[in-house]
C-alpha cells in the first residue's frame, strides 16, 4: 500500500487526539510530582473513577455535562481523601513509600469498581450532536476527537494563564521550587498539596470520562493509561508541565506514525523512545528545574 502525504497527515491528526488524553492524565501526574514529589501510581485509577462516575451519572441524568462534572468532582474527592488520609503521613520519607502506597490505593479502587459496577465494564455513547465527522481536506476525521484536541488545548491555555497570572499560580510555581519559603511566608503548604492532588485527580477523572465514549470503561482501564502517562511525564521531565504537554502530543503522534509504518511495534515504540530520550537526557526533555520550565 502506498503511503501518501494525506495518510501521514491523517495519522498525525489522529496522534494528536491520542495525545490529548495522555496530556490530560500526564499534566495532573506532573503537577502532583512537581509539588509533592509523589509518584502517583493511583493516577490511572483516578482516570477509571472519572469514567465510571461519569457514566453512572449519565445513566441517572442523561446529561453529558452532569457526567463531566461528576467525573471531575468524584475523582477529585477521592484524590483529596487519599492525599489527606493516606499520603500525607508519608511526606518527608522519600519517594518510594508514597509510590508504593498509591499502588495499593489503585488496587483498592480498581476492585471497588468491580464490586460496584461488575467486571465486564460499562459503555457510554456520544450524544447525537457530537457524532459524525468533518472533512479536513486530507481525510475524514471524527468530530468528537477534534473537539477533544481543541478542548484539551483550551484547558491547557486556561491552566497556563492560571499558573502564570493568578495568585494560586504563583503559589504553585513557588511551591514546586521551594515549599519551605512558602511556609515561612504564611502559606499552609499542606492545603496547597491537598488542592493540587485533588486537582490532578480531577483532571485524570475528566480525561477518563472524555475517553469513555471512545473505549468504554472497565475497572482495569487505568493500567495502560497510567503506563503511557508515566512515559509521557518521564520523557517530558518529571514535574514539568510544558514537558508533559510537548511529550504527550509528541508521543501521541509518534505512536500513531509508528502504527502507519510498523504497526506491531507501536507499543514497543513508546518505550524505546522513552529509553532513548532518557539515555541522552537523563532528566527528560525539560529537565528537573521545576514546573513550567
Amino acid at each position: 500500500m502506498d503511503i501518501t502525504l494525506d495518510l501521514v497527515l491523517q495519522q498525525a491528526v489522529t496522534g494528536l487526539a491520542l495525545g490529548a488524553v495522555y496530556v490530560l492524565v500526564a499534566v495532573g501526574l506532573s503537577l502532583i510530582f512537581g509539588l509533592l514529589t509523589v509518584v502517583n501510581f493511583a493516577h490511572g485509577a483516578f482516570f477509571m473513577v472519572g469514567a465510571y462516575a461519569g457514566i453512572a451519572t449519565h445513566e441517572y441524568t442523561g446529561s453529558f455535562l452532569a457526567a463531566g462534572v461528576a467525573a471531575v468532582v468524584v475523582s477529585a474527592l477521592i484524590g483529596a481523601f487519599s492525599e489527606r488520609v493516606l499520603v500525607r503521613p508519608l511526606y518527608g520519607r522519600g519517594i518510594d513509600y508514597p509510590l508504593l502506597l498509591t499502588f495499593g490505593i489503585s488496587y483498592v479502587l480498581v476492585d471497588a469498581a468491580r464490586i460496584l459496577f461488575g467486571r465486564q465494564g460499562l459503555s457510554i455513547d456520544l450524544p447525537e450532536a457530537l457524532q459524525g465527522g468533518i472533512d479536513l481536506g486530507f481525510g475524514y476525521f471524527p468530530l468528537y476527537r477534534m473537539l477533544l484536541v481543541a478542548g484539551t488545548l483550551v484547558l491547557l491555555a486556561l491552566l497556563w494563564l492560571g499558573i502564570e497570572r493568578t495568585r494560586w499560580g504563583l503559589i504553585i510555581r513557588a511551591g514546586a521550587r521551594d515549599p519551605l519559603i512558602l511556609r515561612v511566608l504564611g502559606v499552609d503548604v499542606s492545603r496547597v498539596w491537598l488542592a493540587i492532588f485533588a486537582f490532578g485527580a480531577g483532571l485524570a477523572g475528566l480525561a477518563g470520562i472524555l475517553a469513555a465514549p471512545l473505549r468504554g470503561a472497565t475497572p482495569e482501564m487505568g493500567d495502560g493509561v497510567l503506563v503511557s502517562a508515566f512515559v509521557v511525564t518521564v520523557v517530558g521531565g518529571m514535574g514539568s508541565l510544558a514537558g508533559a504537554v510537548v511529550a504527550g502530543f509528541g508521543l501521541g503522534v509518534a505512536v500513531s506514525l509508528t502504527t502507519l509504518f510498523a504497526p506491531a511495534f507501536s507499543d514497543l515504540a513508546m518505550f524505546v523512545f522513552m529509553a532513548i530520550v532518557l539515555l541522552v537526557r537523563p532528566n527528560g526533555l525539560f529537565g528537573r528545574a521545576g514546573l513550567l520550565s
Binding site: 522519600g94 495499593g104 464490586i115 514497543l268 539515555l279 537523563p282 532528566n283
Partner: protein, 325 residues
C-alpha cells in the same frame, strides 16, 4: 538515593540478632519445612520461587537502595532461557537452570549499562521501560517464545545422582530439587553481604554522598549489585519454569516487577530473611484471600497500604528492629 533516606535506622546488612550464619540457617530451615506446613506442595514451590526472586530483588532495592521496576526482565529472562535451552537444544534441566541464572545476570548487566546513567525515579522508569521492552519482544517474536500462550513443550526429565533417581514430576522431589538450587543461591547471597562489597553497599545505603566522597566507586558497586541481583532473580525465574513446566509471558510483565517490590517491602527490605517471609505472606495471602472472596485485590491492597503506613520496615524488619538491644 531516596531509599537510603527513607529507611530509618538500618539494621545491619544481615540480622544482627541472628548473625550471618544464623540468618542463612533461619532462611533455609524456613524453606525446608515449607512444603510440610502449607496445604499443598505446589504452593510451597511458588513461595520458594517468589522468595528467591524477592531476595535477589532486595539486593538492589533493600541493600543498594535503588528502586527498580523492571526486575521481571531478569526473572523472565532466566525462565525463557531455561525453557528455550531445554526445548530447542535438549539441554538437561539442571544445566538449563544454571544457564538461566547467567542469563538473568546478563540482563542485570544490560540494565546497569543502560539505566545507571539515570537516578531516582528516572532510574525506576527506565527499568520499567526496559522491562516492558522484554515483554513486547516476547510477544512480537511469538514463533520462538510462544507469544502470549507462553513457552511450553519442555519437560524436566528425571536425573540420577549416585544411583538415586529423582523425578521432578513428583511434587515433593521437585520441591527439594528446587530447594537445593535456592539454598546455594542464598548461601552465596549471604557470603556477598558480609564481603567488602557488602560493606560498600551498606555505606552507600546509609549515606550516598559520603560514600561517594570517600572515593567508593558507587556506580560500579550499583552495577555489580544489579548483576548479582540478576543472577539470583534469573535463577528464580529458571526454577519457576521447572516448577510450572511452562513459561508464561507474564513472567516478563511489569506486574511481576511490582510484586517484587511488594514482597520485599512486606517482609522487610534490607533484611536477609524479610523477602522470603514477604513472599510467603504475599503468595499465601493472595491464595487464601482469593479462596474466600473474589475481591481479594481489595484485601491485598488494604493490607499493603497498612504496611506502608504503619509498618514500613516490614514484618521481619519490625521484628528485628524491636529485638535490637
Amino acid at each position: 538515593m531516596s531509599v537510603a533516606q527513607t529507611v530509618p535506622a538500618p539494621t545491619g546488612l544481615l540480622a544482627r540478632r541472628f548473625g550471618p550464619v544464623g540468618s542463612l540457617a533461619l532462611a533455609l530451615v524456613f524453606l525446608a519445612v515449607l512444603p510440610l506446613v502449607l496445604p499443598y506442595t505446589s504452593l510451597a514451590g511458588t513461595v520458594l520461587v517468589m522468595g528467591l526472586f524477592a531476595a535477589g530483588y532486595n539486593l538492589v532495592f533493600g541493600y543498594a537502595g535503588i528502586l527498580s521496576l523492571g526486575h521481571a526482565a531478569m526473572f523472565g529472562g532466566g525462565a525463557y532461557t531455561t525453557g528455550l535451552l531445554m526445548l530447542k537444544l535438549g539441554l538437561s534441566w539442571p544445566l538449563a537452570v544454571v544457564a538461566g541464572a547467567v542469563a538473568g545476570a546478563l540482563v542485570g548487566i544490560v540494565f546497569a549499562a543502560l539505566a545507571l546513567r539515570t537516578r531516582g525515579i528516572y532510574f525506576a522508569m527506565v527499568t520499567l521501560a526496559l522491562g516492558q521492552c522484554g515483554y513486547q519482544l516476547a510477544i512480537t517474536f511469538a514463533d520462538v517464545t510462544g507469544g502470549d500462550n507462553g513457552l511450553r513443550g519442555f519437560v524436566a526429565a528425571p536425573i540420577e545422582i549416585g544411583g538415586l533417581v529423582l523425578d521432578p514430576a513428583q511434587p515433593m522431589v521437585r520441591y527439594y530439587l528446587m530447594f537445593g538450587f535456592a539454598a546455594v543461591a542464598l548461601a552465596g547471597l549471604a557470603r556477598v553481604l558480609v564481603s567488602p562489597f557488602g560493606m560498600v553497599l551498606r555505606a552507600m545505603r546509609e549515606n550516598l554522598p559520603r560514600a561517594r566522597a570517600c572515593g567508593l566507586d558507587v556506580r560500579g558497586a550499583k552495577a555489580l549489585a544489579l548483576a548479582l541481583s540478576g543472577l539470583v532473580c534469573g535463577l528464580a525465574g529458571s526454577l519457576y519454569a521447572i516448577h510450572l513446566s511452562t513459561v508464561p509471558v507474564d513472567t516478563l510483565g511489569y506486574h511481576l516487577s511490582g510484586q517484587a517490590v511488594m514482597m520485599t517491602l512486606l517482609g522487610g527490605m534490607g533484611t536477609f530473611f524479610g523477602p522470603l517471609l514477604g513472599a510467603a505472606l504475599f503468595v499465601g495471602a493472595e491464595h487464601l484471600v482469593s479462596d474466600v472472596t473474589e475481591y481479594w485485590q481489595t484485601v491485598v491492597g488494604i493490607l499493603f497500604i497498612g504496611f506502608v503506613l504503619f509498618c514500613p520496615k516490614g514484618v521481619w524488619g519490625t521484628f528485628e528492629g524491636a529485638r535490637q538491644p
